[in-house]
C-alpha cells in the first residue's frame, strides 16, 4: 500500500514536471473516423518493423566490425557462436523483408483509397521518401553481409551508377570509395546504412506521423463523396465530432494486434528459417561468383536482364527517376474529387498492373533463365541414347564447348537459349550448321573456334534429338 502510494506520488511529480501525459494524452485520444478498420494497420506495422530493425541492428552492431578484412569473420561469429546471434541476424533479415513488404502494402492501400488527396499531400510525399529510404536500407544492408555476393553487388551498383550521364563515373567511384573494391568500400556503406539513412528515416517518420496527427487519418472513401479542398476540412471535423472515436484504444487495438503478429512472424521465421546463408568470403579474385540481390530486388535484377541492350542506359537512369516523379507528382496532379477506388477504376488497374509486373519479373528473377548454368554436368547415356559413335561424341562436345550452359536437353543444362530436346524435329541439318557458325543476338558465333569435325559431331547429336514417338 505504501509502495503504491509512493509510486503514485512519484508519477504525479514526474508528470507535473515533464508534462508527459498532457503531451501524449491528446495524441492518444485524438478522434479518428469510426470506420477505419483493418485496412489502416499497414502504416503502424511498417513502423513496428522499423523498430525491430533498429533494435536488432543496434544489437548486431555490438559485434559487427565494419572492416573489409574482419566483417566476414564477425558475421560468422554472430551466426554460429554468439548467443542469440543467429536469431538476431535472422530477425534483422526478416524484419527488413517485412518492412519492404508492409511499406508496399501501405503504399498500395493509401493509393487505392486516394488518401494522398487534399489535405494529405505532404503525408504522401514524406511516405514516398520513406519508401526510397527503406529500399536503400535493404540494398546497403545486403552489402554489409560482407560475403562474396555482397562485394560483387557493390560492383554491380557502381556499374549501374556509372550509366548516369556526365557524373556516372564519379558516382561509381563514390559508391566503391575509390577505383576498386577495397579498404574504403565497406566503411562507407556501414556509415550510410547505420547512421545516414536511419537519421533520415527517424526524421521523416517523425514528420509523417506528425502529419497524420495534423491532417487526421483519412476516412474510408465512399462513392459520391468527392474531396473538395474548400469544404473538406470542415466536413472532416464535423464527421469526427459526430461519430469519431478516440484513437487509443478504439482504433489502436487493431494496430496492436497486427503489429504483435508481425513481430511474432518475424521471430518465428528467424527461429525456423534462420538468417540468410553467408556466402563465400569476400575475395575479389575468386571468379566463381554469381551475385544476386536479396528477394526484394530480384525483380529489378530481372529488369536488367530482360531489357533490350539498346534502351538499357535510358531505363537504368530514367526508370527510377520516372517512378519517383510519378509518385511525387501524383498528389499535385490529382488532389480533389472521388476517393473511392470504385470510382477510380484506373487506380485499381494501376495497382494490378504494378503488382503483376513486379510479380512476373520477380518469378523470372527467381528462375533467372538468362543466367548460364555453369554447373551443367555431361549428359547421361540414357539421354544421349548411345555410348559410342558420332552422336555420343557430339553430346560430349555439346557439354565441353559450353552449349549445355545455355541450352536445355531433356531437362539438363541452362535456360538462356532455346530448349533443344526435340530440335531434330524442328530444324534441318544445314540450318543447324548455319546457326552454330553464325550465332545470333544471344548466341556466340562458333565459326572461328569449332573444328569442322567437331561441328559435324555436334550436329549429329542435335539431329538425333527427336520426339520419342518419331524415333
Amino acid at each position: 500500500m505504501v509502495v503504491t502510494r509512493v509510486l503514485k506520488a512519484a508519477w504525479r511529480w514526474f508528470d507535473d514536471r515533464t508534462g508527459l501525459s498532457s503531451a501524449v494524452a491528446p495524441l492518444a485520444r485524438h478522434l479518428v473516423p469510426r470506420d477505419s478498420r483493418w485496412w489502416y494497420v499497414f502504416g503502424s506495422a511498417t513502423l513496428i518493423a522499423f523498430v525491430v530493425q533498429v533494435v536488432t541492428g543496434v544489437t548486431l552492431a555490438f559485434s559487427y566490425i565494419a572492416s573489409p578484412s574482419q566483417a566476414y569473420p564477425t558475421l560468422v561469429f554472430i551466426s554460429e557462436d554468439a548467443p542469440f546471434g543467429r536469431v538476431l541476424r535472422g530477425m534483422h533479415y526478416f524484419g527488413a523483408s517485412a518492412m519492404v513488404l508492409l511499406i508496399g502494402l501501405h503504399l498500395a492501400q493509401t493509393y487505392l483509397f486516394a488518401a494522398y488527396k487534399f489535405p494529405r499531400e505532404m503525408n504522401w510525399l514524406t511516405g514516398v521518401l520513406l519508401l526510397a529510404f527503406t529500399l536503400l536500407m535493404g540494398f546497403t544492408g545486403q552489402l554489409l553481409r560482407w560475403d562474396e555476393n555482397a562485394t560483387w553487388s557493390v560492383v554491380v551498383a557502381a556499374e549501374q551508377a556509372g550509366r548516369v550521364p556526365f557524373i556516372g563515373e564519379k558516382l561509381a567511384r563514390f559508391i566503391l570509395g575509390g577505383d576498386t573494391i577495397g579498404g574504403a568500400t565497406l566503411g562507407r556503406f556501414f556509415a550510410i546504412h547505420v547512421f545516414v539513412i536511419p537519421a533520415c528515416l527517424f526524421a521523416f517518420i517523425g514528420a509523417h506521423v506528425a502529419l497524420v496527427f495534423r491532417n487526421g487519418i483519412s476516412e474510408p472513401p465512399k462513392q459520391g463523396e468527392p474531396v473538395d479542398p474548400a469544404t473538406y476540412r470542415g466536413a472532416y471535423e464535423a464527421r469526427l465530432a459526430k461519430s469519431g472515436v478516440p484513437f487509443w484504444p478504439d482504433a489502436a487495438w487493431r494496430d496492436a494486434v497486427f503489429c504483435a503478429g508481425v513481430v511474432l512472424v518475424i521471430l518465428a521465421l528467424a527461429l525456423i528459417v534462420g538468417p540468410p546463408i553467408l556466402g563465400k568470403p569476400p575475395n575479389p579474385t575468386d571468379l566463381n561468383a554469381a551475385p544476386r540481390p536479396d528477394w526484394y530486388l530480384l525483380w529489378y535484377f530481372a529488369v536488367l536482364a530482360l531489357l533490350p541492350p539498346s534502351i538499357e542506359p535510358y531505363v537504368i537512369v530514367l526508370g527510377p527517376l520516372a517512378v519517383g516523379a510519378l509518385l511525387f507528382g501524383l498528389p499535385f496532379v490529382s488532389n480533389r474529387g472521388e476517393r473511392s477506388p470504385m470510382k477510380r477504376p484506373w487506380a485499381i488497374a494501376g495497382v494490378i498492373v504494378a503488382v503483376t509486373m513486379i510479380g512476373t519479373l520477380w518469378l523470372q528473377g527467381v528462375r533467372s533463365p538468362w543466367s548460364p548454368n555453369f554447373d551443367a554436368q555431361p549428359l547421361p547415356k540414357a539421354v544421349i541414347g548411345a555410348d559410342s559413335g558420332p552422336v555420343f561424341q557430339g553430346a560430349a562436345l555439346f557439354h565441353q564447348k559450353g552449349c549445355l550452359n545455355c541450352h536445355l536437353i531433356a531437362g539438363d543444362g541452362g535456360r538462356r537459349g532455346p530448349d533443344l530436346t526435340n530440335i531434330g524435329n524442328l530444324l534441318p541439318r544445314d540450318q543447324m550448321v548455319l546457326r552454330i557458325l553464325n550465332g545470333g543476338t544471344n548466341m556466340p558465333a562458333f565459326g572461328s573456334t569449332l573444328a569442322p569435325a567437331d561441328l559435324d559431331r555436334i550436329v549429329d547429336f542435335l539431329v538425333s534429338r527427336r520426339r520419342p514417338a518419331l524415333r
Binding site: G168, L287, F374, M443
Partner: protein, 178 residues
C-alpha cells in the same frame, strides 16, 4: 501562405502590432539565422570534403608482377591476381584484383578485365569453348574480348601487360565503369 488566425509565438503579428518593432525583430531574426549559418557552412566543408574525397584521390598506376614467363603456356588463359595500386592497410583480401591473362605468343600477353561490361559481374573463361561467359545476365565474349552475345554494350576491358626480365607484369587500373 499566411493564416490570419495564427497565434503562434513565431508569427510576427502575434504579440504586437507595432510596425517598427516588427522590423527590428525581423532583422534580429535574420541576423541570428546568419550567425548560425556561418558555422554550419564552415562545418560543411570538411564533412563534404571527407565524404567525397575518394572521387578526387588520384591513384598512381603500378606495375604488379603476376608470375614468371615460364609459368604461362602459350595459348592458355588463366586467372591471375595482383594487389591494387595503393591499398589501405586494413583492406585484407579486398586489396586484390584478378584478371584473365593469356600468353598469346612467346613474348606477347593479353590481360582482360574480369568485370563484365554489362554490370560488372565476374566473367568466367570457358577453356573448351574459348568464350568468356558472365553468370549474371548471360553476357558472352569471344577470346579476344569482343562481345559474342547477350547484353554487354562493349567488349571486356584490358590491362596493359609488360615483360621485365623473366617477370610478367600487369599495370593496375580502376574497375572499368560504363
Amino acid at each position: 501562405m499566411k493564416d490570419p488566425d495564427d497565434k503562434s509565438p513565431l508569427s510576427p503579428n502575434a504579440s504586437t502590432p507595432d510596425p517598427p518593432r516588427i522590423a527590428r525583430r525581423d532583422l534580429l531574426g535574420r541576423v541570428s539565422l546568419a550567425v548560425i549559418a556561418v558555422p554550419a557552412l564552415v562545418l560543411a566543408v570538411p564533412v563534404a570534403g571527407f565524404v567525397v574525397a575518394p572521387l578526387f584521390r588520384t591513384v598512381p598506376r603500378q606495375w604488379r608482377t603476376v608470375g614468371k614467363l615460364k609459368d604461362f603456356q602459350i595459348g592458355d588463359t588463366v586467372a591471375v591476381k595482383f594487389t591494387d595500386a595503393s591499398p589501405l592497410p586494413w583492406s585484407g583480401v579486398t586489396a586484390n584484383t584478378a584478371a584473365w591473362l593469356r600468353r598469346s605468343a612467346d613474348r606477347e600477353f593479353l590481360a582482360f578485365s574480369v568485370n563484365c561490361a554489362h554490370l560488372g559481374c565476374p566473367v568466367r573463361w570457358l577453356k573448351e569453348a574459348k568464350l568468356f561467359m558472365c553468370p549474371c545476365h548471360g553476357g558472352v565474349y569471344y577470346e579476344n574480348g569482343e562481345v559474342a552475345a547477350g547484353p554487354p554494350p562493349h567488349g571486356l576491358g584490358k590491362y596493359p601487360v609488360r615483360i621485365v626480365g623473366e617477370d610478367v607484369q600487369i599495370q593496375t587500373g580502376p574497375i572499368p565503369i560504363g
